[in-house]
């Protein structure tokens, strides 16, 4: 299923663009900020940066950048026909690209959260948040890949999902936790440390994360199967 050539090209596309530096800036700033607050105030005050900024914002932003970089530009300018005019399974292409986006999301999103949380002291809390970030990063990258396969405005659409749905409305209405990837991750992390909230049912959180991941990758593959070149006419 996994196509190493596609994955290699996706990785080159990810590393070869200016966005990569943006992708790198997020974790550096996050860790820097947490280290600074820890040094100036204390670990517990610094930890607050993570559930309020690192986890709900930096993680999904990194996932958006990664997912849209591996697929977005090729769909936008139509150069994906060079990959699609091959007898290569479309779902394989989607999964290979998703794995690259996932790797980038974990490396530039979840891992820095772990490092930052460890700086603040409590390592149980840090591992719990890391687990949540891995789960959420997995589902986010698949969802944003699917969005990239559908619309040219993938970055905007993904940002709206994160900023308006999950952050803004999620803070106003607790029921949105049932339809929020970030909250599912926190619920799973809650099993390790009660420092994390308990917004939904555990079984539901696990299944919902799995469903979004599998459906996201499948849907991206299906869109690629029906990719149309409309030309300039």
């Amino acid at each position: 299923m996994i196509n190493t050539t596609i994955a290699k090209l996706a990785l080159q596309a990810l590393l070869g663009r200016r966005r990569f530096f943006l992708l790198l800036a997020f974790p550096v700033l996050l860790i820097g900020l947490v280290a600074l607050v820890t040094a100036l105030v204390d670990g517990d005050a610094a930890y607050e940066v993570l559930p309020n900024l690192g986890y709900p914002l930096v993680l999904p932003l990194v996932a958006i950048l990664a997912a849209s970089s591996v697929l977005g530009p090729e769909v936008d300018d139509g150069s994906i026909v060079y990959l699609l005019s091959k007898p290569v399974n479309r779902y394989g292409i989607a999964i290979s690209k998703w794995l690259v986006a996932l790797g980038a999301t974990l490396a530039a999103g979840a891992l820095p959260i772990l490092v930052a949380a460890l700086i603040t002291g409590d390592s149980t809390r840090a591992v719990a948040l890391f687990l949540g970030a891995v789960v959420a990063g997995t589902a986010y990258s698949a969802l944003f890949l699917a969005i990239s396969a559908v619309t040219r405005h993938a970055v905007i659409a993904s940002l709206m999902f994160v900023l308006i749905w999950e952050s803004l409305l999620g803070n106003l209405f607790s029921g949105i936790a049932w339809l929020s990837i970030g909250q599912w991750g926190l619920r799973i992390g809650h099993e390790i440390s009660s420092a994390l909230p308990d917004p939904a049912n555990l079984g539901y959180a696990i299944i919902a994360s799995l469903v979004v991941t599998v459906l996201g990758a499948w849907f991206a593959g299906d869109r690629l199967r029906s990719f149309s070149l409309t030309g300039d006419e």
Binding site: A13, D77, S79, P87, L229, E233
Partner: protein, 303 residues
């Protein structure tokens, strides 16, 4: 040997019909798809290469539908009009990636072999974004040919390519056609198509306007009624003489010139100077007033 068949294929986008009920059979050898810009060539190409579903009708390659059929790409090599956006790869890396995607057993050897065919061995180590238009076109063709396909589809392959490179590309395509491959290329330039293709399909405004070898198409295009503007020492005398000729369909005076509609171009060209001399009329100017390719296409549609 492969045959690409369009059976009453149509494609519309909302209210706009881009391709209207086109039936074509494209077999081995070089075929040119000729039509003015916006005629639906790119839409046809997209349908033939499996990148657009026909709204009605069927597009098949050797009996198999091409839409949502990944396996057809074993037989098809596609050279899209799109620019390569893999500027960060070298020519060799790009062709090699194509070979790998086809899971060729000897991908490295196939890559070198095809680079040689398109004469790109020397620049293959350079990044794609340093290439000239002609070089990028040849690398695209190499990438499309690396798996030895029986069908090669090229969308406007000569656009922006300088004359020397164009000659080179034409030789290459001719050779591929002679090898028994089905080569189809689109173009809006008659001379280009005529020089390369044995068989020509003409599309105008989304419709299949004409089909045949280039001689037949050329005749269709030259035998149509042509409008000429003539200036002479005595337009009225010339008009009365011309009107008596079989080859002339209509004559009218307009200001100090004579508009002549000619049915049979060959005999008109021979007769005009003789008649002028017989009647002591001096010809000052003779010019075709609708020789543009667009008017040729318009005639083919109206036919």
């Amino acid at each position: 040997m492969s045959t690409l068949v369009l059976d009453s294929a149509s494609r519309w986008f909302g209210n706009v019909v881009a391709v209207n009920d086109v039936s074509l059979t494209i077999g081995p050898g070089v075929t040119g798809l000729l039509g003015p810009n916006g005629a639906g060539k790119t839409t046809l190409m997209a349908m033939m290469s499996g990148f657009l579903a026909p709204s009605a009708g069927h597009v098949t390659l050797d009996g198999q539908p091409v839409w949502r059929n990944t396996e057809t790409y074993r037989k098809i090599g596609l050279v899209p009009e799109r620019e390569l956006s893999f500027g960060y790869l070298t020519g060799r890396q790009f062709v090699r990636a194509n070979a790998d995607l086809h899971r060729l057993g000897e991908a490295a050897a196939a890559t070198e072999r095809i680079l040689e065919v398109v004469d790109m061995v020397e620049p293959a180590g350079r990044r794609l974004d340093t290439y000239s238009k002609g070089m990028r076109q040849r690398i695209k063709i190499a990438a499309a040919l690396v798996h030895d396909p029986t069908v090669l589809l090229l969308d406007e392959p000569f656009n922006g390519v300088d004359p020397r490179q164009r000659m080179h590309l034409m030789d290459l395509l001719r050779r591929l056609g002679d090898e028994g491959r089905t080569v189809l290329f689109s173009s809006h330039i008659l001379e280009e198509v005529e020089r390369l293709a044995r068989h020509i399909e003409v599309v105008v405004s989304g419709r299949h306007a004409a089909s045949g070898d280039f001689g037949a198409i050329r005749r269709l295009m030259t035998d149509r009624p042509v409008q000429y503007a003539v200036q002479s020492s005595d337009n009225r005398v010339l008009a009365s003489v011309l009107m008596a000729q079989e080859s002339v369909r209509a004559v009218s005076l307009r200001g100090d010139q004579l508009d002549v509609q000619v049915g049979d171009l060959g005999s008109f060209a021979v007769d005009l100077p003789l008649l002028a001399r017989q009647h002591d009329v001096t010809l000052f100017e003779l010019s075709p007033s609708d020789e543009s390719l667009e008017s040729v296409f318009a005639y083919l549609v109206a036919r």
